[in-house]
């Protein structure tokens, strides 16, 4: 890594956007407050000044309008990158994303592609008000035609931003907003891996924990704590939520025999269930215990004062590991 500055995830996304805009004049940014303000998280800071108001559009406050016009721009040959300000505001655009963006290529039998990128800061524990802390990834992963990435570190944030933009398919990038200030090395010459693959970020032998986005550091901390108790826990950063790299999980589970899936989204109907089912089918005879899920409760995301009780933390992951080892 000859050029490996330490960047926060927010700065890494910014650098990724900048590079994509430099390399392709058809790349446009669209969103609420992303221009002069630089976005509520300052992820797009400085880009309007450098690329102009015709490439960094401060849009009207209308999420369906943002995604809908992005689809039109893509049909005209542009590569729009939409910022949805907060996860909970993706729902006004849900119709455009699921009935139009996801299906346009299928509808036209491949005659048109809609290479739109949608950046959605997601996840909780930021001490905010309702609709600012949700993890709606399963709702989008259920829709064929979309791809979904979620970086957990600066290196992936830098590269996945560019890989999403250059992909011919629509890509949603869920950005772990509570980790925007997490610093890490960024190799600006080489991406880590295929963006649609999972990565083993900590090798282990006794159990596997799959996590993504904001829970990856929590899973790593849980693995560290488990090691102090004599358990060797492998941690996989899933990275891509559509498609999901089940092969990497299967390889791990065949070695460890135990699997815990952790996500911030509610357990019920979450991607953890899909992973549990798939891995049970693929590695039934390798499993020493049922696949266990760690997620949030079947409750609307609670108020800030109690959110730390709602979102899975290190102890909840350790508790699941204990249950797994008890079989």
């Amino acid at each position: 890594m000859s050029t490996a500055p330490d960047l926060t995830i927010a700065k890494a996304v910014n650098a990724g956007l900048r590079r994509a805009m430099e390399e392709n004049p058809r790349v446009l940014l669209m969103g609420e407050d992303i221009g002069s303000l630089g976005g509520v998280y300052r992820v797009t800071e400085g880009l309007k000044a450098d690329f102009g108001a015709h490439r960094v559009l401060d849009t009207p406050l209308a999420e369906a309008g943002i995604v809908g016009t992005a689809i039109g721009l893509a049909l005209r040959g542009y590569r729009p990158v939409c910022e949805i300000q907060f996860d909970g505001f993706s729902f006004p655009a849900f119709n455009q994303i699921t009935t139009q963006l996801a299906k346009m290529r299928n509808r036209t039998n491949g005659d048109v592609t809609v290479p739109v990128t949608i950046r959605i800061p997601y996840g909780g524990v930021i001490g905010s008000v309702e609709h600012h802390s949700e993890s709606p990834e399963a709702l989008f992963a259920h829709t064929a035609g979309l791809r979904i990435l979620t970086p957990s570190n600066a290196q992936d944030a830098y590269w996945m931003t560019q890989q999403a933009i250059s992909c011919e398919d629509p890509v949603i990038v869920f950005e772990p907003k509570r980790r925007y200030w997490l610093k890490g090395a960024v190799d600006v010459e080489r991406p880590t891996a295929d963006p649609f693959s999972a990565q083993v970020v900590r090798p282990g032998e006794d159990a596997t924990v799959v996590a993504w986005g904001p829970l990856v550091p929590v899973a790593l901390a849980a693995a560290q704590a488990a090691e102090e108790d004599g358990r060797s826990v492998e941690v996989i950063d899933l990275r891509s939520l559509s498609p999901i790299d089940f092969d990497t999980i299967e390889d791990s589970v065949r070695r460890t025999g135990r699997l815990v899936v952790a996500h911030e989204a509610p357990t019920f109907g979450g991607l953890g269930g899909e992973i549990a089912a798939r891995l049970t089918e693929r590695a039934f005879y390798s499993l020493e215990a049922p696949v266990l899920r760690v997620g949030a409760f079947h409750l609307p995301y609670p108020v800030a004062a109690v959110e730390d009780r709602y979102v899975p933390d290190l102890d909840r992951i350790l508790e699941a590991l204990d249950r797994s080892f008890a079989y």
Binding site: P60, G68, T69, A70, T99, Q100, K103, N109, D169, P243
Partner: protein
């Protein structure tokens, strides 16, 4: 034209709607009896339209109408899963589409059949959407017309975004000193769709970015069973002022007024003067779709009144009275329309049904691991039938399905159709979708798995 539709039955709530002051005048260039009148703003846009062009417009309207009837017939005969008739809206569609240039880009609802034909879409291709064979029917890139939007309202921001792209292209070209062909996006929608929030959002974006887009509203008075008065208390053209661009109301059954208004609006859009909304007041003479029953919600007298305002009758009267067009011309058009409809029928019935396996190619442009896994699983699953189906060989074998379902396929015997390919099995499978016969292509081609 201006009266609210009357209520057909006591159980339909009768609303007392205060008549708002109509500030936007209704432009009409052909009156109900077919006499040509003048409008200071719009008449100059159709000065060039004489007898020959009017006859061409009439011909297109007549062909579209006959095609529309044929499609309804096809649905009734079980050859289409659904049809959305456009009868009564021929002037609004042909008049507006005739004003387009090739580089303009159209964003339709699912009822813009005459617009599609004007854009060069093969009628049989269009019918494949309603035959359950295709989700889109045609290639948007070939016709500069996107495929039908079935979730209404979604297409409005698409058109606005496309228009924003046209404007960005123009700016880039000017910066580089290049010539660029002026173009506009045109989005079609109706009175029902006008209530969708995405129409509002699209119009806000259009105004904010001065997008070269024309909002072409066919107010056909009914959103399935809900009358226009439930969608809006003012003519839709009046809403334009709220967004800061121009709105025009035209008699949508007057093809000349529609053509003039569309040319006017498109010229403004193409020359950087921002969006324009055109409201064409018309009437859906037919049902919403072939699954609809308008007698449940609207009065026959209402339909009769609008039937007298039929756009084809009006143009015919004008052609006969003002241009001396005689019976021979109208007989020729009727014959052309009959042939046009018959050809569409023959072609669509001759088209092969889709192959399920091909749908794995469609949702993603780049390889998607899950789709590939499921594609491979399904191929292996299908191969498992190879042994038991080994006697059902060949794609032309229709014996197990019977041949009776082909009886009403008129193209079968005349030999006039195009290359029919594997027509026999195609038609049979289409007519009998629950036959359960496994895909013949895999039959006998796989190794015996037992």
């Amino acid at each position: 034209m201006d009266a609210a539709p009357s209520s057909p039955a006591a159980h339909v709530p009768v609303r007392t709607v205060p008549t708002p002051e109509v500030r936007t005048r209704l432009v009409r260039l052909l009156d109900r009896d077919g006499r040509r009148s003048e409008d200071p703003v719009l008449s100059p846009y159709v000065r060039d339209v004489g007898a020959e062009q009017l006859r061409e417009l009439y011909r297109s309207m007549a062909l579209a109408r006959r095609f529309d009837e044929e499609a309804t017939n096809l649905q009734r005969q079980g050859q289409l899963v659904l049809w959305a008739p456009m009868r009564g809206q021929e002037a609004a569609q042909v008049g507006s589409a005739r004003a387009l240039r090739p580089a303009d880009h159209v964003f339709p609802t699912y009822r813009e059949h005459a617009v599609a034909i004007e854009r060069g879409v093969e009628p049989a291709e269009l019918l494949t959407v309603f035959r359950g064979h295709s989700a889109g029917g045609w290639k948007p890139s070939e016709h500069h017309m996107n495929v039908y939007s079935i979730v209404l309202g979604c297409q409005v921001p698409h058109a606005v975004g496309y228009a924003m792209g046209i404007d960005l292209d123009r700016r880039a070209a000017e910066a580089e000193g290049r010539e660029v062909e002026p173009a506009a996006a045109v989005v079609y929608f109706g009175d029902g769709t006008s209530s969708q929030g995405e129409v509002h959002e699209g119009m806000v974006f259009a105004a904010s970015y001065d997008a070269p887009v024309v909002f072409f509203v066919q107010n056909n008075q009914w959103a399935i069973s809900v009358p226009f008065s439930t969608q809006s208390r003012v003519p839709l053209a009046e809403r334009a002022a709220g967004y800061g661009f121009e709105g025009i109301r035209v008699d949508g059954n007057d093809v000349l007024a529609v053509l003039a208004a569309s040319r006017y609006a498109l010229e403004k859009a193409r020359t950087g003067q921002g969006p324009v909304l055109v409201e064409a007041e018309t009437y859906r003479l037919g049902a919403h779709t072939t699954a609809d029953d308008p007698t449940k919600y609207r009065l026959r007298e209402d339909e009769s009144r609008w039937s007298e305002l039929d756009p084809l009758l009006r143009l015919e009267a004008h052609l006969r009275d003002a241009h001396g067009t005689g019976d021979d011309y109208f007989a020729d058009v009727a014959a052309d329309a009959q042939a046009f409809a018959e050809q569409a029928r023959a072609l669509v019935l001759a088209m092969d049904p889709p192959v399920f396996e091909d749908f794995f190619d469609r949702p993603y442009a780049e390889r998607h691991a899950l789709v590939e896994e499921e594609r491979a699983w399904y191929a292996a699953y299908q191969a498992g039938f190879a042994d038991t189906d080994s006697n059902d060989t060949g794609s032309n074998d229709t014996g197990s399905n019977g041949t009776g379902s082909n009886d009403d396929v008129t193209a079968d015997d005349d030999g006039a159709g195009p290359d029919r390919g594997t027509q026999a099995s195609g038609l049979t499978v289409a007519a009998d979708p629950v036959s359960g016969v496994p895909d013949a292509r895999t039959a006998g081609t796989e190794e015996d798995l037992a």
